[in-house]
Every structure is written in structure tokens, then in C-alpha cells.
Point group: C2
Chain length 332, copies 2
């Protein structure tokens, strides 16, 4: 069983998931490692993944079988296990909890496509509906507090299989980064009675220097304090805490914003490896005046090194104003 | 002038250092990039670096020239500038400060050695004295609040030159990660009137499962909540907040602990890329009962990916108990 362990000084949680890896001598550092053999995410390889959790198939097609357009399966090497109780306990100065949770893979297309940016807008919409469906389903499990949707594209961004896919990890604990946002946003709200994210959207759309694009529902910006070169955030214009509470029109507009953002990054940066994550309110919270869901897209162009690990500061050699200017100029 | 910018929601600082990089189109993602040409850190290439800040030369040698054994120079592409005033200011919802600080390189040997672990114990001692000398000198600058000493070895750990070297960045703001440790340690002290780090050392030396090695002054352990496979911490047995307050015997023992740790990591993991950082009390604080300086060594074997960026949690596939066992078994 994996364990969730808490650092006794700073309260940072880690998932110790030994079953996931090989024996330690498999951790020898290897340069340019790569995966060989048939791709388990392609149409026709359905038997290579654990049993399907959910799939989208065209109307009129058989309930199972290879005619899927999107497929969700458990991660074959899950960081957390869905069975079991949490069982919080101490060991001297330390705290730990059983690694209860879910770890799923959203296979975005049956074709061996390695670059999400080449998928159609309709396909992006389907992916967003799948995220929503999985969040709503996992929300029923009372042991869980949060579902993080994330994507790693490119081995440098942590992807181990190149066939385009997203992942979700459902956690029994609210993640530190989301908790920090909640505290910061609530604090701002107490002083101003306004949402900090709404204020950011307003200021950015007025100043226009860090805006990449805009449509009816979303503003796409390079954030003022970008950690990484070409970091790009997608913020809904309508105040809402939950990704899964977005309207149909918002999902349509978001699929456009997300796809365009990836196309712009590909055009500017030669198909960079990247991560994106969705931040949304934890389960069990209520919509409030201060928290505002959003997507953060982080191209992986620089290495995070000693300085960042030591300080929690980031050194970014490209000003977001310059990044936004480059991204705006890409023809779609 | 670089800028220090603060994220308005979570308070995270970033250094926007556009002068440091090339133009944005130089940020296109390139696989397997590498540096060519003569090494600016080798003996005989002294003219290729900015003017020397400090160097160690054998007694009796000329005050300048190539007979150095260790040399400290300003970083040629500094993230922060030593000249200027801080000038804190706002821009709408945002806060920023001029990027005042120092960014120096400690060239650890005149020979083109790429693996720090091959240096002698005496050489390690010299490196530690250089860290101390630079900290004591920078402490005189009243604009500065912290000096982070760090090392990146291997391009995957962020090193851009392979000749073994460390770096320091002096900051006008206490880094978030150090501030988090201070808050956590003080909180523990309020409850228990004991230092959490002293308690960790005591428990680890009793249990022995996560201990890698031990000498008169230091305990080397794989921490209970390791973020990374084979993460290893070096903790002084004597309670003290400041690295630069260590005794001569402690520097001798530390050079042994640090060198042995790198030799063990090299032996177990085939010369992995790694980072290490020194955490010590910020300038202007006083020695207290709760904060305890230490070194964190982090091999870079896994990619930090979307899950980690989204949550602040880490997934570690190697239990620290198993890592410590492997490291202990390496013959020195």
C-alpha cells in the first residue's frame, strides 16, 4: 500500500509509492531512456490497459469494443490505491496516512498522436467533458477531498508514454498549492470584498500587455509573476470556484482557448514539452466570493535547479510581456 | 535591471531576468543541447570570467595568477544585480521590487573535473570554508536578507557548465522555503520546547532504518518524507541555526559527510545528476532554540511533472528506508 507521509517541519506531503517503481537498482540514472514495444493507448491495444472506467463512443455503436474516441482507464502503475481506509497514524515525530485515492489516465484519442495541439476543437471539447464526468463521479467518494487533472506532454515534462493523454489523481487531502491559493484569495477578499482573480482578469484585459487571447468566456494571459518562460494561464471571465460547474458554452469556449494556446506555444517554441493543471475548489467547499478556478499551462524549457529547490523562488529569463507578444503573433 | 515579482494570490516571488536569456526565439525547445568551446572555469582561462571576487592560493604563491585551488567569480549571466536600490512598488494588484542581490560562482577546482565526488576530503573542506567566507562578507550588505548556497551537477540538474562548481544567490527577501521551515520549527518549539530537527536526529539515530552514515558532528539520513528517490539530508548533531557558525572540527566532519554522501550516490546510482542546497537562518535573526541549519542533497532521477506543479505534493517511487539501505552498502 502506498503511504502519504508528511514532512514534520513544513507540512509538505509526499506519496511514497514503492510498488510503483522497480527495485532501487533500476533507478540508476540513464540518459535518453525511452519506451519500446506497441503503444498500449492505441486502438486495438485495449487489452494492454486495466479495464476501462469510462469511454466515449459514437451514438449507435456497440457499448464496448474498439470504436471509442476517448477512453479512461486506471493507471497501470498507480501512485495511490482506490481500496482501503485512510488510517491516519504517527511514528514518533512523523505523521502518515494510507495512500488511498485514484489515479486514472484519460486517453484522448485512439490514434497514435503525440501532440495534443493537433487534435480538433471538437476533440478538445470531448476531453473537457471527460474531465467533468470523472470529477463528478469521484466526488461521490466521501474519503476524497480533491481531484487534480493534469497533463504531461513530452518526456522532459514527465510523460512516460508519448500517445497523447491526461491524468487525474484523486486525493484524501487538499493539496498544499490549492490550500495556499484558497488562503491568499480569502485574505484578499477580506480586505477588498473582491475576488483577486477577477481583479487580475480586469487589470490584464485593460492593460493588454500580458494578454495572449480572449473570447466570450475566457482570458488567456502570461501571468505577471510567471515562474517559467511562456507560462500561460486560462482564466474564466465569470467568477466560479468549480471547473465542473462550467456551462456548455464555457466548455466550448474553453476548448477553443486551450487548443489555441497549445497551437501558439507549438508555433513559438517548436513543440515544447509542457504540463498543464486545473485548479478548482476542493470537494465539500461551497461556491464563494473569493476562489476562481483556472488552468495553468507550463512549457518545460528550463531546468528547475538548486536555487528553486532551496528557495521556492523561480528565475524566469523571459518576461511575460515578451512571451505574450510572441504568442499573440502566431497565426492560427 | 531584473525584477523580483510577487504572485498576488500565493505570495510566491519570481525573478524576471530577461537580460539573462537570449531573445525569446532562442527559447525554442532543443533536445540534447550542449556547450562547446574552451571551459571558462579551467586554469588558464581566468580571463574568460568576470574579475575574481576571492580565491584560495597556496601559501607563498603570488597574490594573483593561475596558481589558485578555488576561485569565486560573479556569475557572467547574473539573475540579480549587486548595484541599485530595492525600490518596492505596486502596479495595480501586483507588487514588485528591483532585482538587487548577488549571484556568484564558486569554481571548486582548476582542473576540468565534472564530478564533485572525485575531489579529496581536503578539497571539500576548502569549498566549505569558501562558502563561509562569502556568506560572512555578504552579510555586511544591509540590503540583503539571505544567501542561498547551492550546487547543480549534470545538465539534467540545471548545470550549464560541466566543470564542477557551486553557486550562491544573495537575496533582499527571505525565501519562502526557509520562511516555511522557520514557521514550522517555531510552531513545534512552542508546543514542545524542543527543536524539531534535534528530535528528528534523535529518532533517526535510534531507529537506524533511514540513517546512511554518522560521524562525530553529523547524521546523514534519507528523510521520512523524501520528495525524491535517494534524497539525503546532512544534519549537524549540535543545535545551531547558522551554517557559518560551525566550528573547525564541524567543517572537517562535514567535508567527510558530504564527500561520502556523493560517493555513495555515485556508487548506487551511476553518477546521477543532483542538486544540493544549504538552509541556514536568514541574516539579522538570532540563534534560537528552534531553527537548525542543514544540507539537502537531491538526486535528479525523476521528472517533476504536472501532478507536483499542481499540488505541491511529490510522488516518490523509492521508500527512504530502501534508499538508505542501498547507500549504506556502498564501500567507501
Amino acid at each position: 500500500m502506498p503511504q502519504l507521509r508528511k514532512d514534520p517541519v513544513v507540512g509538505r506531503w509526499v506519496i511514497i509509492s514503492s510498488e510503483r517503481g522497480k527495485r532501487p537498482n533500476h533507478y540508476e540514472f540513464r540518459r535518453n531512456g525511452s519506451h519500446n514495444g506497441p503503444c498500449p493507448f492505441c486502438r486495438g491495444s485495449e487489452h494492454m490497459t486495466p479495464p476501462e472506467i469510462m469511454a466515449y463512443r459514437p451514438a449507435g455503436s456497440n457499448g464496448e469494443g474498439p470504436r471509442w474516441t476517448l477512453r479512461v482507464v486506471p493507471n497501470k502503475f498507480p501512485a495511490l490505491m482506490i481500496e482501503g481506509e485512510m488510517d491516519r497514524r504517527g511514528e514518533g515525530v512523523y505523521d502518515l496516512v494510507n495512500g488511498v485515492g485514484a489515479h486514472e489516465v484519460i486517453i484522448e484519442t485512439p490514434n497514435h498522436e503525440t501532440n495534443m495541439g493537433t487534435l480538433t476543437e471538437q476533440h478538445f471539447e470531448e476531453i473537457l467533458w471527460a474531465y467533468r464526468d470523472r470529477i463528478l463521479d469521484l466526488k461521490k467518494d466521501k474519503r476524497l477531498r480533491y481531484v487534480l487533472i493534469f497533463k504531461n506532454q513530452g518526456s522532459e515534462a514527465g510523460a512516460t508514454l508519448e500517445h497523447t493523454h491526461s491524468q487525474l489523481i484523486a486525493l484524501p487531502i487538499v493539496p498544499r498549492n490549492v490550500a495556499d491559493e484558497l488562503v491568499g484569495a480569502e485574505d484578499y477578499y477580506k480586505h477588498k470584498e473582491r475576488c483577486i482573480y477577477c481583479d487580475i482578469v480586469r487589470q490584464e484585459l485593460e492593460e493588454k500587455v500580458r494578454v495572449v487571447s480572449e473570447n466570450g468566456s475566457f482570458a488567456v494571459i502570461c501571468p505577471f509573476a510567471s515562474r517559467f518562460p511562456f507560462e500561460t494561464w486560462i482564466l474564466p471571465k465569470r467568477h466560479s470556484g468549480y471547473f465542473e460547474h462550467a456551462s456548455k458554452q464555457e466548455y466550448i469556449d474553453l476548448s477553443r482557448s486551450l487548443r489555441e494556446t497549445l497551437v501558439r506555444l507549438n508555433g513559438t517554441l517548436n513543440d515544447p514539452p509542457f504540463n498543464y493543471i486545473i485548479h478548482s475548489l476542493p470537494f465539500g467547499e461551497s461556491e464563494n466570493g473569493h476562489y476562481h478556478w483556472h488552468i495553468e499551462v507550463m512549457p518545460k524549457l528550463t531546468q528547475v535547479a538548486g536555487f528553486e529547490w532551496g528557495t521556492g523562488f523561480y528565475i524566469n529569463p523571459v518576461a511575460p510581456e515578451e512571451a505574450a507578444l510572441c504568442l499573440r503573433q502566431i497565426a492560427l
